[in-house]
Symmetry: C2
Subunit: 197 residues, 2 copies
């Protein structure tokens, strides 16, 4: 039942992305081989070239899809009407959860090596992720729940804290569950500061 596939695959591009993400998750981005990917997908070794001009283009596409899913997760987790602390906690939980579930993908998304052209597209997607936190900060400032000042700066401090937590959770410095269960506490510390009141 080798059931010879039709000459045209139908949706090879999506199949390649799916297979590539599987390998990425299981063995890391360095282990990704276009030829192996083609074999696993049942096409010739040059077929991927029709959909991705080179290996970097495939990685860029993976990163972009990662940002889309991350942004979706952040949007779904947002609590636009909640006050600062629960809202920040919800967003942070979504971010860290994504990071823990897709560590290699997140590493790829943050990796510094992307073509300059797709770079703009990726930068836009990345900015969108930050956007969730920007509006959170802006809303909170409007309600006086948060220190005044340049929203960008304040957002940056918050985003850095969340991203740093995710990074430490995914690179083995920290047990991921510990980060997730202790998240409320961490967010509380972030919001109220390390100095005693």
């Amino acid at each position: 039942m080798p059931q010879s596939r039709p000459y045209h695959h139908g949706d090879l591009r999506a199949a390649l992305l799916a297979g590539a993400e599987r390998t990425l998750r299981e063995r890391g981005s360095a282990a990704l081989s276009l030829r192996e990917l083609a074999r696993d997908t049942g096409v010739s070794h040059a077929a991927p070239g029709r959909h991705f001009k080179d290996k970097q283009a495939l990685l860029d596409a993976l990163a972009l899809s990662g940002y889309e899913r991350l942004n979706q997760a952040l949007a779904a987790a947002d609590l636009p009407d909640a006050t600062l602390e629960p809202r920040m906690t919800a967003l942070a939980r979504a971010y860290v959860t994504f990071a823990v579930a897709n560590p290699e993908l997140l590493e790829l998304m943050y990796s510094r090596k992307h073509a300059p052209d797709i770079g703009t597209e990726l930068a836009a997607a990345a900015e969108l992720s930050l956007g969730s936190f920007v509006t959170l900060v802006a809303d909170a400032q409007r309600r006086g729940e948060i220190v005044p000042g340049d929203p960008e700066t304040v957002t940056l401090t918050a985003a850095a804290g969340v991203h740093g937590l995710a990074a430490l959770a995914t690179n083995g410095s920290l047990r991921p569950e510990a980060v997730l269960t202790g998240l409320e506490h961490h967010i509380h510390l972030m919001l109220y500061g390390l100095k005693p009141r």
Copy 2:
């Protein structure tokens, strides 16, 4: 003056590490090729194999040397007698400065793919970096300058903030100089929190 080198290089291992780091800095870890490195160093393509069992071993050695220099920089920048805020600022500045000066190296150090055996050595070096912040927090708690509670947890929040800043500074989300000049402000926000007092 091709001055044929003596058969034995003298310190090939160090020369390889230096050359590798140069390539890492200029073209990223993916562009690192053992054969090219051997050519640039003027030895045969198999010579590196005498000092690094495979490519990953070379990368591990690079990461380890990175941790050593980072720890040295942190130790040199520490102000053991200063109060919390200036001390934290000094450490954070050293960390972010290192990150901005060695972005690819830091990415390699944080990358998730290291052999399990060297992994222990790397983990120890990484823990040493965190150590600077741990003692900072412990000292501050002793003086009552900081919230009480599990020092690990408190340290984690602080370290995550600093590392997150460094990550955002190196991956292009942020202009590195902006992070460095705004560091005092960010640290202040971290210590005093985002909520108004």
